[in-house]
Protein backbone atom coordinates (compact mmCIF):
# COMPACT_ATOMS: atom_id res chain seq x y z
CA UNK A 1 0.00 0.00 0.00
CA UNK A 2 1.29 3.47 -0.93
CA UNK A 3 0.41 6.62 1.00
CA UNK A 4 0.58 10.07 -0.56
CA UNK A 5 0.32 13.44 1.14
CA UNK A 6 -1.56 16.15 -0.75
CA UNK A 7 -1.02 19.66 0.64
CA UNK A 8 -3.68 22.19 -0.42
CA UNK A 9 -3.98 25.85 0.53
CA UNK A 10 -7.75 26.35 0.72
CA UNK A 11 -10.14 25.51 3.58
CA UNK A 12 -12.09 22.27 3.88
CA UNK A 13 -15.41 23.77 2.76
CA UNK A 14 -14.05 25.24 -0.48
CA UNK A 15 -15.31 23.53 -3.66
CA UNK A 16 -11.73 22.87 -4.82
CA UNK A 17 -10.94 21.07 -1.55
CA UNK A 18 -14.20 19.11 -1.64
CA UNK A 19 -13.29 18.03 -5.14
CA UNK A 20 -9.84 16.93 -3.94
CA UNK A 21 -11.40 14.81 -1.20
CA UNK A 22 -13.68 13.11 -3.75
CA UNK A 23 -10.72 12.58 -6.06
CA UNK A 24 -8.74 10.96 -3.21
CA UNK A 25 -11.68 8.72 -2.40
CA UNK A 26 -12.11 7.71 -6.07
CA UNK A 27 -8.43 6.79 -6.32
CA UNK A 28 -8.54 4.70 -3.17
CA UNK A 29 -11.65 2.88 -4.39
CA UNK A 30 -10.35 2.29 -7.92
CA UNK A 31 -7.04 0.89 -6.66
CA UNK A 32 -8.61 -1.21 -3.89
CA UNK A 33 -6.76 0.81 -1.28
CA UNK A 34 -3.35 0.36 -2.93
CA UNK A 35 -2.93 4.13 -3.23
CA UNK A 36 -4.20 6.25 -0.37
CA UNK A 37 -4.08 10.05 -0.74
CA UNK A 38 -4.30 12.12 2.43
CA UNK A 39 -5.54 15.66 1.71
CA UNK A 40 -4.05 18.31 4.07
CA UNK A 41 -6.41 21.26 3.53
CA UNK A 42 -6.12 24.89 4.64
CA UNK A 43 -2.33 25.09 4.29
CA UNK A 44 -1.97 22.81 7.30
CA UNK A 45 1.06 21.04 5.83
CA UNK A 46 2.61 23.60 3.47
CA UNK A 47 1.57 27.17 2.68
CA UNK A 48 0.41 28.13 -0.82
CA UNK A 49 3.76 29.41 -2.17
CA UNK A 50 5.64 26.39 -0.80
CA UNK A 51 3.50 23.62 -2.29
CA UNK A 52 5.03 23.55 -5.78
CA UNK A 53 8.51 23.29 -4.35
CA UNK A 54 7.41 20.62 -1.88
CA UNK A 55 6.11 18.45 -4.74
CA UNK A 56 9.21 19.13 -6.82
CA UNK A 57 11.52 18.16 -3.96
CA UNK A 58 9.45 15.12 -2.98
CA UNK A 59 8.38 16.45 0.45
CA UNK A 60 4.87 15.80 -0.85
CA UNK A 61 4.13 13.45 -3.72
CA UNK A 62 1.16 15.44 -4.96
CA UNK A 63 -0.19 18.93 -4.35
CA UNK A 64 -2.62 21.60 -5.45
CA UNK A 65 -1.28 24.97 -6.60
CA UNK A 66 -2.75 28.23 -7.88
CA UNK A 67 -1.03 28.54 -11.26
CA UNK A 68 -0.84 32.36 -11.44
CA UNK A 69 1.08 32.35 -8.15
CA UNK A 70 4.11 31.12 -10.09
CA UNK A 71 4.12 33.64 -12.94
CA UNK A 72 7.24 35.37 -11.54
CA UNK A 73 9.09 32.14 -12.23
CA UNK A 74 7.69 31.56 -15.75
CA UNK A 75 5.18 33.95 -17.37
CA UNK A 76 3.11 31.14 -18.91
CA UNK A 77 2.00 30.00 -15.43
CA UNK A 78 0.21 33.36 -15.35
CA UNK A 79 -1.57 33.13 -18.71
CA UNK A 80 -4.92 32.64 -16.96
CA UNK A 81 -4.31 35.82 -14.97
CA UNK A 82 -4.18 38.18 -17.97
CA UNK A 83 -7.31 40.33 -17.70
CA UNK A 84 -9.94 39.90 -20.44
CA UNK A 85 -7.95 37.34 -22.43
CA UNK A 86 -10.39 34.57 -21.44
CA UNK A 87 -13.44 36.09 -19.78
CA UNK A 88 -15.97 33.26 -19.40
CA UNK A 89 -15.99 29.61 -18.34
CA UNK A 90 -16.07 28.50 -22.01
CA UNK A 91 -13.10 30.60 -23.10
CA UNK A 92 -11.23 29.72 -19.88
CA UNK A 93 -11.65 26.03 -20.78
CA UNK A 94 -10.25 26.78 -24.24
CA UNK A 95 -7.29 28.63 -22.72
CA UNK A 96 -6.58 25.61 -20.53
CA UNK A 97 -6.55 23.36 -23.60
CA UNK A 98 -3.97 25.64 -25.22
CA UNK A 99 -1.97 26.04 -22.00
CA UNK A 100 -1.86 22.42 -20.92
CA UNK A 101 0.72 20.96 -23.36
CA UNK A 102 3.15 23.81 -22.67
CA UNK A 103 2.66 23.47 -18.92
CA UNK A 104 3.21 19.73 -19.16
CA UNK A 105 6.50 20.32 -20.92
CA UNK A 106 7.67 22.84 -18.31
CA UNK A 107 6.66 20.72 -15.33
CA UNK A 108 8.26 17.70 -16.98
CA UNK A 109 11.57 19.58 -17.03
CA UNK A 110 11.12 20.18 -13.30
CA UNK A 111 10.36 16.53 -12.56
CA UNK A 112 6.62 16.92 -12.21
CA UNK A 113 3.38 16.23 -14.10
CA UNK A 114 0.06 17.99 -14.13
CA UNK A 115 -2.99 15.82 -13.39
CA UNK A 116 -5.84 18.28 -13.79
CA UNK A 117 -6.84 21.92 -13.39
CA UNK A 118 -10.08 23.60 -12.33
CA UNK A 119 -10.99 27.27 -12.77
CA UNK A 120 -11.97 29.62 -9.95
CA UNK A 121 -15.13 31.69 -10.53
CA UNK A 122 -14.61 34.83 -12.68
CA UNK A 123 -13.10 37.98 -11.16
CA UNK A 124 -15.09 41.18 -10.77
CA UNK A 125 -14.56 44.59 -9.16
CA UNK A 126 -15.66 45.33 -5.59
CA UNK A 127 -15.96 49.08 -5.14
CA UNK A 128 -17.66 51.68 -2.99
CA UNK A 129 -18.12 53.92 -6.04
CA UNK A 130 -20.42 53.74 -9.06
CA UNK A 131 -18.30 52.95 -12.09
CA UNK A 132 -19.47 54.10 -15.51
CA UNK A 133 -16.04 54.21 -17.11
CA UNK A 134 -12.43 53.60 -16.16
CA UNK A 135 -12.11 57.33 -15.43
CA UNK A 136 -14.32 56.78 -12.35
CA UNK A 137 -11.62 54.50 -10.96
CA UNK A 138 -9.08 57.32 -10.64
CA UNK A 139 -7.89 57.66 -7.06
CA UNK A 140 -9.55 54.51 -5.76
CA UNK A 141 -7.59 52.86 -2.96
CA UNK A 142 -7.17 49.53 -4.68
CA UNK A 143 -5.89 46.35 -3.06
CA UNK A 144 -2.93 45.08 -5.07
CA UNK A 145 -2.21 41.48 -4.09
CA UNK A 146 -0.46 40.34 -7.28
CA UNK A 147 1.61 41.92 -10.04
CA UNK A 148 -1.46 41.95 -12.32
CA UNK A 149 -3.78 43.70 -9.87
CA UNK A 150 -1.08 46.28 -9.14
CA UNK A 151 -0.63 46.96 -12.87
CA UNK A 152 -4.39 47.37 -13.44
CA UNK A 153 -4.42 50.03 -10.72
CA UNK A 154 -1.56 51.90 -12.37
CA UNK A 155 -3.23 51.78 -15.79
CA UNK A 156 -6.58 53.17 -14.55
CA UNK A 157 -4.99 55.70 -12.17
CA UNK A 158 -6.05 54.02 -8.92
CA UNK A 159 -3.69 53.80 -5.98
CA UNK A 160 -2.34 50.29 -5.41
CA UNK A 161 -2.36 49.38 -1.71
CA UNK A 162 -0.71 46.32 -0.22
CA UNK A 163 -3.02 44.54 2.23
CA UNK A 164 -2.64 40.92 3.32
CA UNK A 165 -5.60 38.57 3.03
CA UNK A 166 -5.70 38.22 6.83
CA UNK A 167 -6.32 41.95 7.24
CA UNK A 168 -8.72 42.46 4.34
CA UNK A 169 -11.89 42.90 6.45
CA UNK A 170 -10.24 45.36 8.79
CA UNK A 171 -8.70 47.28 5.90
CA UNK A 172 -12.13 47.72 4.33
CA UNK A 173 -13.72 48.70 7.63
CA UNK A 174 -11.20 51.45 8.35
CA UNK A 175 -10.94 52.68 4.77
CA UNK A 176 -7.38 51.51 4.12
CA UNK A 177 -8.83 50.25 0.81
CA UNK A 178 -12.14 50.95 -0.93
CA UNK A 179 -11.89 48.57 -3.88
CA UNK A 180 -10.33 45.33 -5.07
CA UNK A 181 -10.76 42.68 -7.72
CA UNK A 182 -11.77 39.15 -6.86
CA UNK A 183 -14.40 36.50 -7.33
CA UNK A 184 -17.82 36.49 -5.70
CA UNK A 185 -16.65 33.67 -3.44
CA UNK A 186 -13.83 35.73 -1.92
CA UNK A 187 -16.21 38.61 -1.29
CA UNK A 188 -18.59 36.33 0.53
CA UNK A 189 -15.89 34.59 2.59
CA UNK A 190 -14.37 37.91 3.71
CA UNK A 191 -17.78 39.51 4.41
CA UNK A 192 -16.97 42.26 1.92
CA UNK A 193 -20.72 43.04 1.73
CA UNK A 194 -20.49 44.61 5.18
CA UNK A 195 -18.30 47.41 3.82
CA UNK A 196 -18.60 47.51 0.03
CA UNK A 197 -21.93 47.36 -1.76
CA UNK A 198 -21.11 47.10 -5.48
CA UNK A 199 -19.64 44.22 -7.42
CA UNK A 200 -19.11 44.68 -11.15
CA UNK A 201 -19.27 41.32 -12.86
CA UNK A 202 -16.46 42.02 -15.33
CA UNK A 203 -15.46 38.33 -15.63
CA UNK A 204 -11.94 39.68 -16.01
CA UNK A 205 -10.14 36.36 -15.71
CA UNK A 206 -10.62 32.87 -14.29
CA UNK A 207 -7.48 31.73 -12.48
CA UNK A 208 -6.98 28.00 -12.13
CA UNK A 209 -5.89 25.57 -9.45
CA UNK A 210 -3.81 22.70 -10.80
CA UNK A 211 -3.08 19.36 -9.16
CA UNK A 212 0.53 18.41 -9.80
CA UNK A 213 2.41 15.24 -8.97
CA UNK A 214 6.05 14.33 -8.50
CA UNK A 215 7.05 12.28 -11.55
CA UNK A 216 9.33 9.89 -9.66
CA UNK A 217 6.53 9.15 -7.22
CA UNK A 218 4.14 8.58 -10.13
CA UNK A 219 6.55 6.24 -11.91
CA UNK A 220 7.00 4.22 -8.73
CA UNK A 221 3.35 3.17 -9.02
CA UNK A 222 2.41 0.07 -11.02
CA UNK A 223 0.63 0.50 -14.34
CA UNK A 224 -2.96 -0.25 -13.18
CA UNK A 225 -2.57 2.23 -10.29
CA UNK A 226 -1.21 4.90 -12.64
CA UNK A 227 -4.16 4.39 -14.96
CA UNK A 228 -6.65 4.54 -12.12
CA UNK A 229 -5.06 7.77 -10.91
CA UNK A 230 -5.24 9.40 -14.36
CA UNK A 231 -8.83 8.27 -14.84
CA UNK A 232 -9.89 9.68 -11.46
CA UNK A 233 -8.06 12.92 -12.34
CA UNK A 234 -9.95 13.28 -15.61
CA UNK A 235 -13.23 12.79 -13.76
CA UNK A 236 -12.20 15.29 -11.10
CA UNK A 237 -11.49 17.87 -13.79
CA UNK A 238 -14.94 17.55 -15.37
CA UNK A 239 -16.62 17.56 -11.96
CA UNK A 240 -14.52 20.51 -10.76
CA UNK A 241 -15.48 22.81 -13.65
CA UNK A 242 -19.16 22.02 -13.16
CA UNK A 243 -18.85 22.63 -9.42
CA UNK A 244 -17.09 25.93 -10.03
CA UNK A 245 -20.01 27.22 -12.11
CA UNK A 246 -22.47 25.96 -9.53
CA UNK A 247 -20.53 27.49 -6.63
CA UNK A 248 -20.37 30.82 -8.45
CA UNK A 249 -24.14 30.90 -9.02
CA UNK A 250 -24.84 30.05 -5.38
CA UNK A 251 -22.42 32.55 -3.94
CA UNK A 252 -23.73 35.42 -6.08
CA UNK A 253 -27.22 34.70 -4.72
CA UNK A 254 -25.83 34.75 -1.18
CA UNK A 255 -24.06 38.05 -1.85
CA UNK A 256 -27.31 39.56 -3.14
CA UNK A 257 -29.14 38.34 -0.06
CA UNK A 258 -26.58 40.21 2.03
CA UNK A 259 -27.11 43.49 0.22
CA UNK A 260 -24.44 43.37 -2.45
CA UNK A 261 -25.43 44.83 -5.82
CA UNK A 262 -24.34 42.51 -8.62
CA UNK A 263 -23.87 44.93 -11.51
CA UNK A 264 -23.15 44.41 -15.20
CA UNK A 265 -20.40 46.76 -16.42
CA UNK A 266 -21.54 49.52 -18.79
CA UNK A 267 -20.44 49.42 -22.43
CA UNK A 268 -18.01 52.26 -21.73
CA UNK A 269 -16.46 50.52 -18.70
CA UNK A 270 -16.20 47.31 -20.70
CA UNK A 271 -14.43 49.08 -23.57
CA UNK A 272 -12.06 50.87 -21.16
CA UNK A 273 -11.20 47.65 -19.36
CA UNK A 274 -10.66 45.91 -22.67
CA UNK A 275 -8.05 48.57 -23.45
CA UNK A 276 -6.36 47.86 -20.09
CA UNK A 277 -6.43 44.18 -20.96
CA UNK A 278 -4.88 44.75 -24.39
CA UNK A 279 -2.08 46.80 -22.85
CA UNK A 280 -1.39 44.11 -20.26
CA UNK A 281 -1.45 41.38 -22.89
CA UNK A 282 1.11 43.34 -24.88
CA UNK A 283 3.34 43.67 -21.83
CA UNK A 284 2.89 40.02 -20.99
CA UNK A 285 3.87 38.97 -24.52
CA UNK A 286 7.04 41.04 -24.25
CA UNK A 287 7.97 39.15 -21.10
CA UNK A 288 6.85 35.71 -22.24
CA UNK A 289 8.54 35.85 -25.66
CA UNK A 290 7.79 33.44 -28.53
CA UNK A 291 6.35 30.83 -26.13
CA UNK A 292 3.74 33.34 -25.07
CA UNK A 293 2.86 34.26 -28.63
CA UNK A 294 2.55 30.58 -29.47
CA UNK A 295 0.14 30.09 -26.55
CA UNK A 296 -2.05 33.07 -27.49
CA UNK A 297 -2.13 31.97 -31.15
CA UNK A 298 -3.08 28.42 -30.19
CA UNK A 299 -5.82 29.74 -27.87
CA UNK A 300 -7.26 32.09 -30.50
CA UNK A 301 -7.44 29.27 -33.04
CA UNK A 302 -9.58 27.09 -30.75
Amino acid sequence: QTKWDLPAAYPAGNFHTENLELFAKDVEKATNGKLKIQVHANASLFKAPEIKRAVQGGQAQIGEILLVNFQNEWPLFGADGIPFLADSYDTAAKLWRAQKPMLEKKLNEQGMMVLYAVAWPPQGIYTKRQLNSAADMKGLKWRAYSPATARIAELVGAQPVTVQAAELSQAMATGVIDSYMSSGATGYDTKTYEHIKNWYDTQAWLPKNAVIVNRAAFQALDKPTQDALLKAAAEAETRGWANSRKANGEVLEKLKANGMQILQPSAQLKADMKKVGDQMLKEWLEKAGPEGQQLVDAYRKL
Partner: protein, 169 residues
Protein backbone atom coordinates in the same frame (compact mmCIF):
# COMPACT_ATOMS: atom_id res chain seq x y z
CA UNK B 1 41.05 32.59 17.91
CA UNK B 2 38.82 33.79 20.75
CA UNK B 3 38.77 37.30 19.31
CA UNK B 4 37.97 36.02 15.87
CA UNK B 5 35.05 33.98 17.20
CA UNK B 6 33.67 36.84 19.27
CA UNK B 7 33.94 39.08 16.23
CA UNK B 8 31.98 36.51 14.22
CA UNK B 9 29.11 36.37 16.77
CA UNK B 10 29.00 40.13 17.29
CA UNK B 11 29.29 40.91 13.60
CA UNK B 12 26.34 38.65 12.82
CA UNK B 13 24.39 40.26 15.67
CA UNK B 14 25.05 43.71 14.26
CA UNK B 15 23.73 42.60 10.91
CA UNK B 16 20.68 41.21 12.72
CA UNK B 17 20.12 44.56 14.43
CA UNK B 18 20.40 46.27 11.07
CA UNK B 19 17.79 43.88 9.72
CA UNK B 20 15.55 44.82 12.67
CA UNK B 21 15.83 48.46 11.60
CA UNK B 22 15.00 47.19 8.11
CA UNK B 23 11.73 45.66 9.35
CA UNK B 24 10.76 49.01 10.84
CA UNK B 25 11.77 50.88 7.69
CA UNK B 26 9.77 48.59 5.41
CA UNK B 27 6.60 48.76 7.52
CA UNK B 28 6.91 52.55 7.84
CA UNK B 29 7.44 52.79 4.10
CA UNK B 30 4.21 50.92 3.43
CA UNK B 31 2.28 53.21 5.83
CA UNK B 32 3.78 56.41 4.44
CA UNK B 33 3.47 55.41 0.79
CA UNK B 34 -0.24 54.82 1.28
CA UNK B 35 -0.73 58.22 2.91
CA UNK B 36 1.31 60.11 0.37
CA UNK B 37 -0.01 58.15 -2.59
CA UNK B 38 2.85 56.25 -4.16
CA UNK B 39 3.39 52.50 -4.31
CA UNK B 40 6.46 50.48 -3.55
CA UNK B 41 5.76 46.90 -4.56
CA UNK B 42 6.86 44.20 -2.14
CA UNK B 43 7.41 46.14 1.10
CA UNK B 44 5.56 43.37 2.95
CA UNK B 45 7.83 40.69 1.54
CA UNK B 46 10.97 42.70 2.30
CA UNK B 47 9.80 43.23 5.89
CA UNK B 48 9.41 39.46 6.17
CA UNK B 49 12.91 38.78 4.82
CA UNK B 50 14.40 41.39 7.18
CA UNK B 51 12.57 39.80 10.11
CA UNK B 52 13.97 36.38 9.19
CA UNK B 53 17.48 37.85 8.98
CA UNK B 54 17.05 39.52 12.39
CA UNK B 55 16.04 36.21 13.95
CA UNK B 56 18.63 33.93 12.37
CA UNK B 57 21.70 36.17 12.41
CA UNK B 58 21.38 36.88 16.15
CA UNK B 59 21.16 33.18 17.14
CA UNK B 60 24.80 32.75 18.18
CA UNK B 61 25.07 36.09 19.97
CA UNK B 62 21.89 35.35 21.92
CA UNK B 63 23.22 31.92 22.85
CA UNK B 64 26.50 33.40 24.05
CA UNK B 65 24.59 35.87 26.21
CA UNK B 66 22.67 32.94 27.67
CA UNK B 67 19.33 34.36 26.54
CA UNK B 68 17.94 31.37 24.68
CA UNK B 69 15.61 29.88 27.23
CA UNK B 70 15.84 26.33 28.48
CA UNK B 71 14.64 24.42 31.50
CA UNK B 72 17.36 24.58 34.16
CA UNK B 73 15.35 22.98 36.95
CA UNK B 74 17.51 19.86 37.04
CA UNK B 75 20.78 21.56 36.08
CA UNK B 76 20.36 24.07 38.87
CA UNK B 77 20.10 21.30 41.49
CA UNK B 78 23.12 19.32 40.37
CA UNK B 79 26.65 20.05 41.44
CA UNK B 80 30.15 19.17 40.31
CA UNK B 81 30.66 16.26 37.96
CA UNK B 82 26.98 15.42 37.57
CA UNK B 83 26.21 18.96 36.51
CA UNK B 84 29.06 18.97 34.05
CA UNK B 85 27.97 15.65 32.63
CA UNK B 86 24.47 16.94 32.05
CA UNK B 87 25.77 20.19 30.54
CA UNK B 88 27.91 18.21 28.10
CA UNK B 89 24.94 16.06 27.18
CA UNK B 90 22.74 19.14 26.56
CA UNK B 91 25.48 20.81 24.54
CA UNK B 92 26.08 17.64 22.50
CA UNK B 93 22.39 17.37 21.67
CA UNK B 94 22.44 21.08 20.82
CA UNK B 95 25.45 20.66 18.52
CA UNK B 96 23.81 17.75 16.71
CA UNK B 97 20.51 19.58 16.19
CA UNK B 98 22.23 22.81 15.19
CA UNK B 99 24.32 20.86 12.68
CA UNK B 100 21.18 19.42 11.07
CA UNK B 101 19.58 22.84 11.11
CA UNK B 102 22.62 24.45 9.47
CA UNK B 103 23.10 21.72 6.87
CA UNK B 104 19.52 21.88 5.65
CA UNK B 105 19.43 25.68 5.76
CA UNK B 106 22.44 25.83 3.46
CA UNK B 107 20.80 23.21 1.27
CA UNK B 108 17.58 25.26 1.19
CA UNK B 109 19.35 28.28 -0.28
CA UNK B 110 21.35 26.04 -2.60
CA UNK B 111 18.28 24.24 -3.96
CA UNK B 112 16.38 27.54 -4.27
CA UNK B 113 19.14 28.79 -6.53
CA UNK B 114 19.38 25.65 -8.63
CA UNK B 115 15.62 25.27 -9.22
CA UNK B 116 15.20 29.05 -9.60
CA UNK B 117 12.66 29.44 -6.78
CA UNK B 118 11.23 32.95 -6.96
CA UNK B 119 8.94 34.74 -4.50
CA UNK B 120 5.33 34.45 -5.66
CA UNK B 121 4.30 37.92 -4.46
CA UNK B 122 4.87 41.39 -5.90
CA UNK B 123 8.58 41.54 -5.09
CA UNK B 124 9.62 38.56 -7.30
CA UNK B 125 12.87 38.13 -5.33
CA UNK B 126 14.98 35.04 -6.07
CA UNK B 127 14.52 33.33 -2.71
CA UNK B 128 18.09 32.10 -2.30
CA UNK B 129 19.20 35.68 -1.56
CA UNK B 130 17.15 36.28 1.62
CA UNK B 131 17.62 32.60 2.54
CA UNK B 132 21.38 33.23 2.78
CA UNK B 133 20.69 34.94 6.12
CA UNK B 134 19.18 31.70 7.41
CA UNK B 135 22.11 29.66 6.11
CA UNK B 136 24.72 32.00 7.60
CA UNK B 137 22.86 32.47 10.89
CA UNK B 138 22.45 28.75 11.54
CA UNK B 139 26.10 28.10 10.61
CA UNK B 140 27.28 30.72 13.10
CA UNK B 141 24.99 29.16 15.72
CA UNK B 142 26.64 25.80 15.05
CA UNK B 143 30.08 27.36 15.50
CA UNK B 144 28.95 28.97 18.77
CA UNK B 145 27.57 25.71 20.13
CA UNK B 146 30.75 23.80 19.24
CA UNK B 147 32.68 26.62 20.90
CA UNK B 148 30.61 26.25 24.09
CA UNK B 149 31.00 22.49 23.97
CA UNK B 150 34.79 22.73 23.76
CA UNK B 151 34.89 25.32 26.56
CA UNK B 152 32.73 23.14 28.80
CA UNK B 153 34.93 20.12 28.12
CA UNK B 154 37.99 22.14 29.08
CA UNK B 155 36.19 23.53 32.12
CA UNK B 156 36.53 27.10 30.87
CA UNK B 157 32.86 27.83 30.17
CA UNK B 158 31.66 30.94 31.98
CA UNK B 159 28.03 31.05 32.96
CA UNK B 160 26.49 34.38 32.16
CA UNK B 161 23.55 35.38 34.29
CA UNK B 162 21.16 37.20 32.08
CA UNK B 163 18.41 39.53 33.16
CA UNK B 164 17.42 40.57 29.66
CA UNK B 165 15.47 37.38 29.10
CA UNK B 166 13.19 38.43 31.89
CA UNK B 167 11.42 41.25 30.17
CA UNK B 168 9.87 39.17 27.49
CA UNK B 169 6.42 37.57 27.26
Amino acid sequence: MRRLLDFLYDGAAWLAALAMVGVLAMVLLSIVSRQVGFHVPGTDAYAGYAMAAAGFLALAHTLKRNEHIRVTLLLGRLKGGARRGLEIWALSAGVLLAALFAFYSVRLAWVSRSINDISTSNDATPLWIPQLAMAVGTLVLLVALVDEWVLELRGQRKSVESEEALHNE
